[in-house]
Amino acid sequence: MKKYSIAIFATALTFCACKKNLEKNPLDTLTPTQAFATEQNLQLYVNSFYQMVPSAQAVYGESGVIQGYYLHGNVLSDLTIWDQKNTYLHGGFTSKDAQGWSWGDLRNINYFLEHYNQANIPVERKNHYAGIARFFRAWFYYDKVNMFGDVPWYGKVLNSDDPDLYKGRDPRTLVMDSVLADINFACANISAVKSSSASTISKWTALALKSRICLYEGTYRKYHTELNLTSTASTWLENAANAAKEVMNSGQYTIYNTNSPAKDYRALFTSQNPIASEVILARVYNDGSKIYHNATGFFSNFGKYQPSFVKRFINAYLKIDGSRFTDVPGYDTIQFQNEVLNRDARLAQTIRTPGYKRSDGTVAPPYLAAAAVSGYQILKFSLDDPKLDLAGISYNSIPVIRYAEVLLNYAEAKAELGTFTNDDWNQTIALLRKRAGITDVSMPTTLDPYMQANFYSNVTSIPLMEIRRERDIELAAEGFRYTDLKRWKEGKLLEKEKDGIYVPQEGQLLDLNSDGKPDVAFVTTVPANPVSGVYYFKINNGIAKLSQGTKGKLIYQLNLTPSYPDYKYYAPLPYSELLLNKNLVQNPGWDHP
């Protein structure tokens, strides 16, 4: 009988398939309930937003993370020569090349904002984290509006069957009001404890960004009269000034000045640890952690795609005594190695000038072969160690928001409002010029005719003109230029001729760094017996020439015709997106299905 009972028992067991055995939850991931339970988890989640802080590459322009390659602020700039065809400017760019229409970061933020309230922690702590999320959402939408104008506003996570996936664009006013609401919430709720490493978001970071965004929107509405929003410009400008003023009044930041005018400015861009007395937010790089970028390689001898400055811009740097370089008679025919002497100390910290040495002691003249085609080779972000030229292992942290910008934002907003005072000057521009070693930092009393003729023809305010000069110089190559041109509606400047150093005579051997050895000669044909160590720069080949035939300024990119009609203020929406969503309307002027 025993064996039959075993048989029956075993057969019965056969039918015990249990659902319980099939409940298998992930081992190494969190469910949404677990992920938002504690404050630590909220902190973990907001850490993900920091990947939105522009990378070094996005700032100096090797490739744009937010803005894309052709549309980068240092590439789509009238201040630089970029030795390539830029199809956005020179023709050929279509909606199939569209960039920047990516929305993953927004989904990540909105997912947080839909879940963070689950955490069982004090409401002000929750709001701190929500503030950081909204800080980044404001930044995200500011970038989108800057690029495309009207964009659809999404304040929620979209499911794959959500009809809102197919909605049209929302008006600029709605989107920017939402951006303002976000950044105001951020300013009000993020902790006021300043980051000592310039790498986390505090109330002060939010205020600094607010000054940037509001100045952008205020000036954009003021100058882009076709939007019919001019009446609303001053509110935005006041917001910009107030936000900047709040940072200034907080005493949290100063202009980094150790009374070493030849070094202080560049230290901001070449330090491994951000100089947190001035830098409000940086993208941090570090040799020990092996987090690197490639700015040194990009700007040193071997790159092909980096921009160099045009002479028209270099001329704008004041002399060290505060007088205008362009007031010097014959300023336009001074050779490179002489023109850069006794100038605003930021010049020698922005481009290579005679006396620049690598860390191994080698002298390094501007390298005209494949790069620095103008002769004004940028060194702002590159380190001096030649080992870094070929390996992408630069480790200097890159400032993304600086106190200097806040001062410039304040000054510009006040000047645009017409309420700029001498006191304002002393609190802003004067501080920057002082750091640059300029001896007379008082506000000029006459309008600079060079600036008016070569840059901002419709600016008649003396302080505004000086503020713009200051902004161009102080923030040179930091990626601001294209946005500045757009908000000032100065896109036509992009059509200007690209000029380089002055060449006294075709064929003459030039010693750019005054070390006694010739570096370059501008020739139509390379001589049969070239001088060792000299780069022979070919002219009269359809690409480059000298402005007066056999002498004069180098004029470059003769083969390309830049064109910036008004429609280019807004980048095209991607062709494929217009196919997927019929409610999405292309920006006028661009091709569409």
Partner: protein, 1085 residues
């Protein structure tokens, strides 16, 4: 059933190993039998066993009933068996013959005639949860025995199974001994989740690489849904059942097998090694892209400079060998200048590598107890020259059983398998040589002062120094099972539990290498890191099932019900840290860098199924089988967790019908079969239906560290459910001419529904990847045929032989896919075409080639082919490829790249293998045995996209395979009939000149001699004095001969190693497949 099956295995074991009884025994018979007879009540019996035609039978198994004594006949049919009781019964058996029991009745000489078993009634096939007489099978099942695996020294079972069973496709794309193949049954499974065949070893899911091929008793493949249905969702794409040898009731037996093999790469790239020739061609192909307006200034980005004057010095050196040194120093910058002619393949790869295999097995059994132990050691030297890789593998398997009562048997077993593989080089060498121009013969390995060159340090130099990757894996399995029978053996209950653990580890060490670019200046590479990954895979399964069978008159019923549960848990730990203080040591205590990383990971899943099977047959003529499985899987949301998947199959043994039975002497067996069934596929990632937030280390430094972060989960598709696979199968089995010819034919249609593929494109504002859902369908049609001929030829010493021929084919079509406009595009590097409805999977779209342009006039008169780029300036020149304007619109283009308008583009071939076939022959004569196994693919096209085929047409600075220089337009004076066009590059990409087209489409069908082996057993009279039962020597060779139409163009490429599913990839030159010659010996006592 199991009993029958055990008996069968037992016989096979005997046959395999106990081959010799020597006539010496026969000569001494009288003497010994006298002694025995007077000693006790036992005797010695001798005799001859013959078949009905009088031919002596070799290897007939003879056992004394109810004891463990036994022997086999020798080649002359003679046997001798001692210690036989006077009233004992002898059982004579041999595969293919009816067994006979003969009472001894005091006789000392018993001659026996065995009758052929024409119906093969005892031919038993392993099926799911049981076994089945082959004649009663209604599903598509194929089985081979151990003869395919013995005396073939292979690193693992997969290598031995390639091509053996029709439509069982085993694909290796690398010769690395650790390579894991894909096991596929009947072609493309799912373009969504994918899915391989389920592999069970003795009923338990396991990695076949842990199995010693010598232990295999049989391999069965269940191909259609009806036969696999009982395994449920993991058997959706076929099941492979491997059974290992069992001792059964037999005398103790010890077998040693030892072999030594010589291995060689099956194909060796035949490349240009002369520096000057390479440099000339480099300039030519580079210039070609720039319409001959530019000379390269460096070789790729290898750091090696290039100029016209450098080329001139190379020419001078080539014309005046030895006149100038091959390394000089540049006076301007002080750097070394190299003028090498390095034969990288010679330097980096060995010509011959040895491998050794030793194995031992011990088995035996009585009525109550049986046991089997087997162990194997396999060692293979690596193929790299500078520092060899090394592969060691150890297998151990033990099992035994106890008959506890007359109705209960308990068995247990354990398996241990372990390998370690040390790879000095972590990268793909062919790629490393081709990337950046490091593989140019101009580059050299060492400077005159003995330091490494920069090029070498940056490429294959890692083969020197302390770099290594050590992979280890140990597999441990424990099984226990019971079998109980009741009600006069009509009710059986069986159960088993199995638990196994695979522990794997990878130690990865990168140490800095020193190199020199100028005399006296030493630089070092920067990476210095130690990393370790540990994996732990645990598997638990149990099965409990019972069957009951009953016969009522002509009606036969059998019912089986059971429960199957399995669960898997995998955990991983990976750590790394940089700055290893002492490169020779491997401990993390010696790493002191700031850069450290720890990561984990893991998953769990479980399946639970209730299954049942009902067999019914009437008069052994009409067969019916129904299967059902109610299957649950943890991989689906709760509402979709369970699915019911039924199947049914029928058979008609028409040869048993009175109108055929005994009417035709030539027809012994004919059966028609049909089956239909559906199965769910659970071979998907475990948590696809859940929102998961993952923690990672941020790439951004915040407050001095890289913090952890979590971010939003991937989006999920709604209504996520099972992929469903249905198979309709029709088949026929037959036996003709006294069953000397036996065969099976099957045709099938398999449909995969609701495959998990990317959903429709969504606007980018969605913000994340479109979730994968059940969006696509696929249909595969195919057939398979296998024929076996077995016969013996009556000679003075009989010759027995067999021939087995198989043929299989399948094609797949996409029947549903998310591609609204039927757009056709290919990936520009791999040329893999996207899916669209109606597509035959594997179709290669391409242009039709008309020839090469002969003159500018020819170009001017031809249709506009500017859509195809031939150079940077897109300037067509004579020698460039001329494409046919198929639609006559004056332009060569792809229209709108849609199915409706594809311009001059058409389907020019198909990359999936068609008509795979094999034939195997066995000869046995006078102690000699000869086996040859050929395997091939009847039809297959391939469009290559890599430098192995194209050399510098693909990449300027590539290694140059010599075949690209033969019949080359640029080198043979512009002959318009040249095969290779104008020498320029890079053209094997996207919309460029050498994109897929008819002229360069290759026919990669092939026929390969996969194995040939010759064995000789030493006559027993010579060895018996040493107490040896059997001593066999053998020579075998693997992969030694291949023919393919491709080999008319190039022999650089192994035609069998083309990637099966991924399209036009080919990777075998990194670690080539090996051809092997083995000598070995097998000893049994």
């Amino acid at each position: 059933m199991k009993k029958v099956c055990l008996l069968l295995r037992e016989k096979q074991l005997f046959l395999a190993s106990n081959s010799l009884k020597i006539s010496l025994w026969a000569l001494c018979v009288t003497f010994f039998s006298m002694v025995s007879f007077h000693g006790n009540a036992q005797t010695v019996v001798t005799g001859i066993v013959k078949d009905a035609t009088g031919i002596p039978l070799h290897q007939v198994n003879i056992v004394v009933k109810n004891s463990n004594a036994g022997t086999t006949t020798d080649a002359n049919g003679q046997y001798r068996i001692s210690k036989v009781g006077l009233s004992d019964t002898l059982v004579f058996s041999l595969v293919g013959f009816l067994s006979r029991e003969v009472g001894v009745s005091g006789r000392q000489s018993i001659d026996v005639v065995l009758q052929k078993d024409v119906k093969m009634m005892n031919d038993v096939v392993i099926v799911g949860y049981g076994s089945q007489k082959k004649v009663n099978l209604t599903g598509a099942v194929d089985q081979v025995g151990s003869e395919y695996f013995e005396n073939r020294p292979v690193p693992n079972i997969g290598r031995a199974m390639e091509g053996v069973i029709p439509n069982l496709n085993i694909n290796y794309t690398s010769g690395r001994p650790t390579a894991a193949p894909a096991w596929n049954v009947r072609g493309l499974t799912s373009i969504g989740a994918g899915g391989e065949a389920l592999i069970l070893i003795d009923g338990v899911s396991a990695d076949p690489r842990t199995l010693n091929p010598e232990d295999v008793a049989s391999i069965t493949v269940l191909k259609d849904a009806a036969s696999a249905a009982i395994y449920g969702s993991r058997g959706a794409f076929g099941v492979i059942l491997i059974t290992t040898k069992n001792a059964g009731k037999a005398k103790p037996r010890v077998t040693f097998n030892s072999s030594y093999s010589f291995n060689q790469p099956i194909n060796k790239p035949d490349v240009v090694t002369d520096g000057y020739t390479w440099a000339k061609l480099y300039k030519e192909t580079y210039g070609g892209w720039y319409d001959y307006s530019q000379t390269p200034s460096s070789i790729g980005s290898s750091g090696l400079p290039f100029s016209d004057s450098y080329l001139d010095s190379l020419k001078y050196r080539s014309e005046h060998p030895g006149a100038l040194p091959s390394i000089t120093v540049n006076p301007v910058n002080g750097n070394y200048v190299y003028y090498g002619s390095t034969d990288w393949y010679n330097e980096l790869y060995k010509k011959n590598i040895p491998s050794i295999e030793n194995s031992i097995s011990v088995s035996g059994g009585t009525d109550k107890v049986d046991y089997m132990l087997s162990g194997k050691m396999y060692k293979q030297e690596g193929i790299f020259n500078l520092r060899s890789d090394q592969y060691n593998k150890y297998d151990f398997r033990a099992k035994g059983g106890v008959q506890v009562t007359d109705w209960l048997k308990i068995n247990g077993g354990t398996v241990f398998s372990s390998y370690d593989y040390t790879d000095p080089f972590r990268f793909n060498i062919w790629q490393v040589l081709n990337i950046f121009g490091n593989g140019t013969p101009l580059a050299m390995m060492y400077n005159p002062d003995g330091t490494m060159t920069q090029t070498f340090a940056n490429s294959a130099g890692a083969l020197t120094g302390g770099n290594k990757v050590i992979s280890k894996q140990t597999f441990q399995q424990n099984n226990a099972n019971f079998a109980a029978t009741f009600l006069n053996k009509t009710l059986n209950i069986k159960g088993d539990v199995s638990y196994w653990i695979t522990n794997s580890s990878t130690d990865d060490k990168v140490v800095p290498l020193s190199y020199s670019v100028k005399p006296g200046v030493i630089s070092t590479t920067t990476t210095n890191q130690l990393a370790k990954t540990l994996g732990n895979y645990k598997y638990l399964s149990y099965n409990l099932y019972s069957d009951y069978s009953r016969t009522f008159g002509k009606h036969y019923f059998k019912a089986l019900v059971g429960d199957n549960f399995e669960q898997v848990r995998y955990e991983q730990l990976a750590v790394s840290r940089d700055n290893l203080l002492i490169p020779d040591l491997n401990d993390f205590n010696l790493t002191v860098g700031d850069n450290k990383n720890i990561s984990g990971g893991g998953y769990e899943w479980a399946n639970n199924g209730l299954f049942g099977r009902l067999n019914y047959s009437f008069a052994d003529k009409y067969l019916l089988e129904a299967n059902g499985r109610w299957d649950g899987s943890s991989k689906f949301p709760e509402s979709k967790m369970f699915g019911f998947f039924p199947s049914v199959s029928v058979g008609w043994r028409i040869s048993e019908e009175s109108f055929l039975k005994d009417k035709t002497s030539w027809l012994n067996e004919l059966k028609f079969r049909g089956s239909y069934g559906s199965l769910g596929n659970s071979q998907i990632s475990p948590y696809l239906y859940l929102e998961q937030l993952r923690a990672n280390t941020s790439p951004v430094i915040i407050d001095g560290t890289r913090p952890a972060y979590i971010n939003s989960p991937s989006a999920l598709a709604g209504n996520f459910t099972w992929e469903t696979i249905t198979t309709l199968n029709g088949g026929m089995d037959f036996g003709l001419f006294m069953s000397r010819l036996r065969g099976s034919v099957d045709i099938y249609n398999r449909k995969s529904y609701d495959m998990v593929t990317p959903g429709p494109s969504l606007p980018a504002v969605f913000g994340t990847a479109v979730p994968r859902g059940n969006y696509a369908d696929l249909e595969t049609k195919g057939f398979e045929v296998s024929l076996n001929w077995n016969d013996r030829i009556r000679l003075k010493k009989p010759l027995s032989y067999s021939v087995r021929v198989t043929l299989a084919d399948n094609v797949s079509y996409i029947t549903k896919y998310n591609n609204p406009g039927d757009l056709i595009n290919y990936e520009p590097y791999t040329f893999v075409t996207n899916y669209y409805v109606g597509q035959r999977v594997g179709d290669i779209w391409g242009y039709t080639t008309e020839g090469l342009f002969t003159s500018q006039d020819d170009i001017a008169k031809h249709a506009d082919q500017s859509a195809i780029q031939v150079s940077g300036g897109n300037k067509l020149l004579p020698g460039d490829v001329k494409f046919k304007d198929l639609n006559g619109d004056g332009k060569v283009n792809k229209g709108k790249n849609t199915l409706a308008d594809h311009g001059d583009w058409s389907v020019i071939g198909n990359s999936r293998p068609r008509y795979t076939y094999s034939f195997t022959t066995d000869f046995d004569w006078n102690n000699f045995s000869l086996t040859a196994f050929f395997q091939g693919v009847g039809k297959r096209d391939w469009y290559f996209n890599t430098t192995e085929f194209w050399g510098q047409y693909d990449v300027w600075y590539s290694v140059i395979p010599k075949h690209t220089l033969e019949n080359n337009w640029s080198l043979n004076g512009g002959d318009p009939n040249s095969y290779w066009p104008r020498y320029r590059a890079p053209l094997v990409y996207g919309e460029r000149e050498l994109q897929p087209q008819t002229k360069y489409l290759q026919n990669v069908s092939y026929l390969r001699l996969k194995n040939i082996s010759l064995g000789y057993s030493i006559p027993k009279k010579i060895i018996s004095k040493a107490g040896i039962d059997n001593l066999q020597f053998y020579v075998s060779a693997q992969n030694i001969w291949t023919t393919s139409p491709l080999y008319k163009i190039t022999k650089n490429i192994d035609v069998e190693s083309l990637d099966y599913d991924g399209g036009a990839r080919y990777n075998n030159n990194n670690y080539p497949t090996l051809k092997t010659v083995t000598v070995g010996a097998r000893l049994t006592f």
